[in-house]
Each structure stands twice: as structure tokens, then as C-alpha cells.
């Protein structure tokens, strides 16, 4: 794998690249700078060259890759505001499931400012073999260029067959750079993965706004990159006798240097509209005696409360929170209707939801015609029970 391209015309022979290379991987050859097998594609030489004489060679070699040289599954452990992003545990769970099929170990790479090495340890109980940790204050904030350098460094030394990255704002900005640097394929926003006995990753993703699913392979090159949608894979469970280790990788200032200057980072509390919400709980006229209880269910599920028209008209909510013909059209992943009869003017605004759960005392209620799960019962019993169960489950996890 050629990694560097050298432009002799631009080089002024300053030798800084040879001096700064953390791996002693550069040599001054007959025709200029060449890299030896120690090169980890970290990009330090490219960063320090003021002449821009060096760049990454992004061309795959013609020969078919030797798939046996690329082993294991690497996941990227994203951090969000100093914490491990929950998608990471899903990636580990999925990586272990795939790894078992072909005898691959699961590795993780984590990059960030202070606290990164500490967070790295948190992954060990979940059955990760090695966590490669790159901690440096230069990695504070969201800077895809130096993150790419650090993760490339890890990939070049580990040579994983598969790299899984969360399809988050950060992941989707990072993964394309990595896959280009390794001149290989990347499948975005996968919702289902499998692995063939020959280690080819089978990647399924929605296209055309979810109207079509595409099944994609990267069979001629390695590593195989996927970004994986958050909240679709099963979280990893802790293993009985974790035997993994954290590898703290030394990071130089040059390696953590970024062209991007982060001037400010601010936490945002965004208020989503009900159209953007993944989870909605609807209070119909049957719930008018305790709307706050229904709201609590919505909050526990990380979603929002919405209303039928009579409820909005009685002042429980505004038009922006009313579903239906004269309200909003929604398409959430989950909608739970509480005390809603299911008139056509209402269902027209929500029947495209992926999963509909309806609670109504009347077995003949129209809502049951479109619901996937039908609960003929008193919402004032079912909803409090459910809230309690969810709270108990959350406490168990902490």
C-alpha cells in the first residue's frame, strides 16, 4: 500500500518531515522522500511541510487485496461532551456478533481531550480486546482533520477488516475522510449488517428517503467502512471475564494539530417540532383527566406529547402539537395513542408511523384498525404501570 505522494519540485530539502515523523518511517531516497513499512498514515509529515510537497496517495493498488492481512473489527468510540456516546455500546454489540461468525476480535479506538484515557477503560467490560486511546488537549472539540490522522494511525497499525463508526454528526463527517485516505469503500447509515464467511461485510442501508433498501458489499478492498445508525443495533452486554486492555498511544503536538480552530462550544437544548420527533405519545379525549401523566410517559421515552383536535381545542396544546388533517402530519418511529378514538381526520396525520401502539377501553375503537399493538384497557392503569417499569429499568442500569 503506497501511502505518500512526493512532489520533488515543491520540496526545499528542509528535512522537517524526516525529523518530525513519529515512526521514523521516512527516508530521503534517490527520487526524494519515500516511506517505509513503518508508515502509519498519521499525516504529521504532510502537516509540517510548508511547501506542500507531500500528500496522501489515494490510489488503491491494482492487485486484489489479501483479505487475510486485514483482521478483526475496529469500532470508533465517539465521545460527546466528555462522555462515551451511547451508540458506541451498540457498535460493540454488533461487532461482537459479527466477529463471532468469522472468528474476529473486537477493537476500539478513542480520540479526544482530557478524560479520554479514563473513558477508554469503560469499554473493557464489554468484551473489547484492545482500546487504543489517543488523548491530547489538541483533540478538544470536533476537528475532523486531526481525528482522521489519529484514527488512520490506529488503522494502519492494526489493519482491521471492518471499521464501524456511529452514523452521528461526528461519525458521518469523519468516516468519509478515513475511507478516502485508505482508498476503500464506505457505506453510510447502515441499518443492518452481516458478514460472509469470506469476511465480506453485507451492509444494508435505506436510500431515496427510506423508500428503498440497498444491500452493499466492499469486496475488493480493505478495510470495509460503515457508519451505523444510532438505536438500531443491540447494545453489548458485559462479559464474564473481560481480558481486554487499554493501549495508550503517545500523541505528539504535531499529530494533534488541526487546521480548524475551535472558538466556542455550547450545549444546545433544542426543541424539536413533533414532525421531527422519533417518539410521540398522543393524549386523546380519553386522557383528559390526567394529561400530565401521559406527558410523563412521553418524557420517559425521550419523546414529545401531542394531541387530538378536541384536546387542542380545550386548551391542552397548540396547533403545532395537534396531529391530523387540520394539524400536523407525523411519521415517527413510535407513536402511542392514549384515549384516542381514531377518527379518519386524526389517523390521516399519523398512519405512516413505523409502530403504532393504541390504548383504548373500547374494543371497537377505530384506532385499532391501524394499530400494530392493540391494548383494550384503561389508560389510567396501563400508563402509570408502564412509567414505573421504565423508571425501574433505568435505575437498574445506573
Amino acid at each position: 500500500m503506497a501511502t505518500l505522494r512526493f512532489d520533488a519540485q515543491k520540496c526545499n530539502l528542509c528535512g522537517l518531515c524526516l525529523e518530525k515523523c513519529p515512526f521514523n518511517a521516512l527516508e530521503m531516497g534517490e527520487k526524494g522522500i519515500i516511506e517505509n513499512e513503518k508508515c502509519r498514515m498519521c499525516g504529521v509529515c504532510i502537516k509540517v511541510c510548508a511547501q506542500k510537497a507531500l500528500s496522501f496517495e489515494q490510489k488503491a493498488s491494482k492487485a486484489e487485496v489479501d483479505k487475510n492481512k486485514w483482521k478483526g473489527i475496529l469500532i470508533y468510540a465517539e465521545q460527546e461532551e466528555g462522555e462515551i456516546h451511547p451508540v458506541v455500546y451498540e457498535l460493540i454489540g454488533e461487532a461482537r456478533r459479527l466477529g463471532e461468525k468469522v472468528g474476529y476480535d473486537v477493537y476500539a479506538v478513542i480520540v479526544g481531550g482530557k478524560g479520554t484515557n479514563k473513558n477508554a477503560k469503560k469499554l473493557i467490560p464489554y468484551g473489547v480486546k484492545k482500546v487504543f486511546s489517543y488523548e491530547h488537549t489538541g483533540f478538544d472539540g470536533f476537528k475532523t482533520d486531526c481525528y482522521t490522522d489519529a484514527i488512520s494511525d490506529c488503522i494502519a497499525s492494526l489493519k482491521p477488516s471492518v471499521v464501524l463508526i456511529g452514523a452521528t454528526a461526528l461519525g458521518r463527517s469523519l468516516a468519509p475522510r478515513l475511507s478516502v485516505r485508505f482508498h476503500t469503500g464506505l457505506t453510510a447509515d447502515c441499518t443492518k449488517l452481516d458478514i460472509k464467511p469470506n469476511t465480506d461485510l453485507v451492509q444494508v442501508r435505506p436510500a431515496f428517503g427510506g423508500n428503498i433498501m440497498a444491500q452493499i458489499l466492499i469486496s475488493r478492498s480493505r478495510p470495509q467502512f460503515s457508519t451505523v445508525r444510532y438505536k438500531v443495533m443491540d447494545k453489548a452486554k458485559k462479559v464474564e471475564n473481560p481480558d481486554g486492555e487499554v493501549v495508550i498511544v503517545p500523541v505528539t503536538d504535531d499529530m494533534a494539530h488541526s487546521a480548524v480552530k475551535v472558538l466556542n462550544i455550547e450545549h444546545i437544548n433544542r426543541t424539536k417540532s413533533i414532525e421531527e420527533e422519533d417518539v410521540l405519545v398522543v393524549a386523546g379525549r380519553g386522557a383528559k383527566n390526567d394529561v400530565e401523566m401521559v406527558r410523563e410517559l412521553a418524557t420517559e421515552l425521550g419523546g414529545q406529547l401531542a394531541f387530538t383536535r378536541p384536546m387542542a381545542e380545550s386548551g391542552f396544546g397548540d396547533n403545532a402539537h395537534q396531529i391530523g388533517l387540520s394539524g400536523r402530519t407525523v411519521k415517527p418511529k413510535l407513536i402511542i395513542t392514549c384515549g384516542v378514538s381514531g377518527a379518519i381526520q386524526f389517523t390521516a396525520g399519523m398512519n405512516a408511523a413505523e409502530c403504532i401502539i393504541a390504548i383504548n377501553t373500547d374494543p371497537e375503537a377505530l384506532i385499532f384498525n391501524i394499530a400494530n399493538y392493540c391494548i383494550v384497557d384503561d389508560l389510567y392503569k396501563v400508563v402509570p404501570n408502564l412509567i414505573k417499569k421504565i423508571k425501574d429499568a433505568k435505575n437498574m442500569e445506573d
Binding site: R177, V180, F368, N372
Partner: protein, 262 residues
């Protein structure tokens, strides 16, 4: 200030159907439109030009019909429009598309800022922008929700990330991908339509690009291949939960857990 905006022509409707027998897309309607997200990118570029001068070049890779979209870009106020069109580019995935566009950017030359939309409505990947930046070895900022300042040699932007917003400064040349709602795209103007009626769209083919290594373009230069396409599974299942209210709650809880809602 030289700005290049990457725009793609996409099918007018995203309602596509699968041919059950062949497992491929049924012929898409021939109706096309500019990728709606790219109109925000064009508008962002035009706004920068209004304030700071310079030129705006619209760039696309696609079939000859893309000329139509480029005429619209002229009507909105673009100074220059470039279409990279060649059968050799057919079948390009992210790697090959972004490489071809990066070659087009080198061909146009001397860009200070490259602006992409957040994603396309057909490919839906949001990957082309960052991939172009890597090919050109320049920094990028994705999900830009506001352009705060243009300085002599750098740009300051606000990025909307899931739980935080970040203000970043990057030196030229650099690339940004802009979110929708960053602005309100203008409509093509009738006056500009008259003025630009004779303005030609520049076409370039494979031979015109700086790198003439065929193995990097089109199907050959694409490491991913689509094995098959299929319609998404529909949830038509209907289940009446039975038992006491406690048991029903138990069952809802299981359904919610399995669906990762808890």
C-alpha cells in the same frame, strides 16, 4: 474570493419502485430537479459574494441533462457553471464521485471555499463533501448552520452537531457542507434569465481532468457495489395484547425494549 458550489441533479420524486424479478430500480421518471439541499449551498455562496465580492462557480458531475440545472444556477446569479460529464464516470460511488469532483475543482482552480449541500435526496449519504475535502487535503466543517464571518484568509462558521453547537475557524482553502435552514434560497430571476440566456455551461470530460488514471473513475474506481435493492419491510403486523393490565404493561415494555425505545 472564489467559491465553488457542488450541486447534483436528482430525480424529481423519491417514490421509487423495485422490479421484484431483477432486484433493481424500476426506471425512474425522467423528471429531475436540483437536489433541494444544494440550493442552500448556492444561496450561501451568492450571499458571500454579495458581501465580499468574488465569483461563484456551480459544479456538477452527471449526465448532459444537468445543463438545465446549471441554467437555473445562472438564473439565480452564478457566474460560471461546469458540468463533468463522461460515460467513464458512470457507476461512481462515494470514492469515485468525490475524486472526480475534486479533479473538477483542481481544473477550475484556485478555489477559496467549496460549498456542498448536507446530503442528496437520492444517494442520501452526506459523505461526498468530507470526501472531497480529504482528496484535496483541506480542512472541512460539516453541518454548518451559519456563516458568521469571512476574514481575509479564513472563514468562521457555526456547526450544529447533535448536542452541541461549535464555532470553528478554518483557513482557505476549505470546504463546508451547509444544513438546510441556513438561509432561504432565492428563486431564479426573470431578469437574470434574459441576461444569461446565451451564457454557456462549460462541459468537461475524462480527458480534460488533471488525473487521467482510468482506475480511479466510474465503476472501476468504486470499491462499493450494490448487490441488490429491495423494498423496505412493512410493519403490517397487528397484535391484540391479552391478559390483565399488569401483563399488558409487561408486554408493551418488551415491545418498547426490543424497539430500543427504552
Amino acid at each position: 474570493m472564489k467559491i465553488i458550489v457542488c450541486m447534483k441533479q436528482v430525480p424529481a420524486s423519491s417514490k421509487v419502485e423495485i422490479d421484484e424479478e431483477t432486484g433493481t430500480l424500476k426506471r425512474l421518471g425522467s423528471d429531475t430537479k436540483a437536489n433541494p439541499y444544494d440550493l442552500y449551498a448556492l444561496e450561501a455562496a451568492l450571499k458571500i459574494r454579495e458581501k465580499h465580492g468574488g465569483t461563484v462557480t456551480a459544479l456538477t458531475m452527471g449526465p448532459k441533462q444537468a445543463e438545465e440545472m446549471m441554467k437555473d444556477a445562472y438564473m439565480c446569479g452564478a457566474d460560471d457553471a461546469v458540468v463533468l460529464s463522461d460515460l467513464k464516470f458512470a457507476g461512481s460511488d462515494v470514492l469515485a464521485t468525490s475524486y472526480t469532483l475534486s479533479q473538477g475543482i483542481l481544473l477550475i482552480g484556485e478555489a477559496d471555499v467549496i460549498i456542498c449541500g448536507r446530503q442528496t435526496t437520492d444517494g442520501d449519504t452526506a459523505q461526498i463533501g468530507p470526501a472531497i475535502a480529504e482528496h484535496l487535503n483541506m480542512p472541512h466543517a460539516a453541518w454548518v448552520s451559519e456563516i458568521l464571518e469571512i476574514k481575509e484568509k479564513s472563514i468562521v462558521v457555526k456547526q450544529d452537531l447533535a448536542s452541541v453547537s461549535q464555532i470553528s475557524e478554518m483557513p482557505f482553502p476549505c470546504l463546508i457542507t451547509v444544513d438546510k435552514d441556513i438561509n432561504v434560497p432565492r428563486l431564479p430571476s426573470y431578469i437574470l434569465k434574459k441576461e444569461t440566456a446565451d451564457k454557456t455551461v462549460r462541459f468537461y470530460a475524462f480527458d480534460d481532468l488533471p488525473d487521467n488514471d482510468l482506475s480511479r473513475y466510474g465503476l472501476v474506481g468504486s470499491p462499493t457495489n450494490v448487490e441488490k435493492m429491495f423494498a423496505p419491510p412493512v410493519n403490517e403486523k397487528k397484535i391484540f395484547l391479552e391478559g390483565s393490565d399488569k401483563e399488558k404493561t409487561e408486554k408493551i415494555f418488551e415491545i418498547l425494549s426490543a424497539g430500543k425505545f427504552i
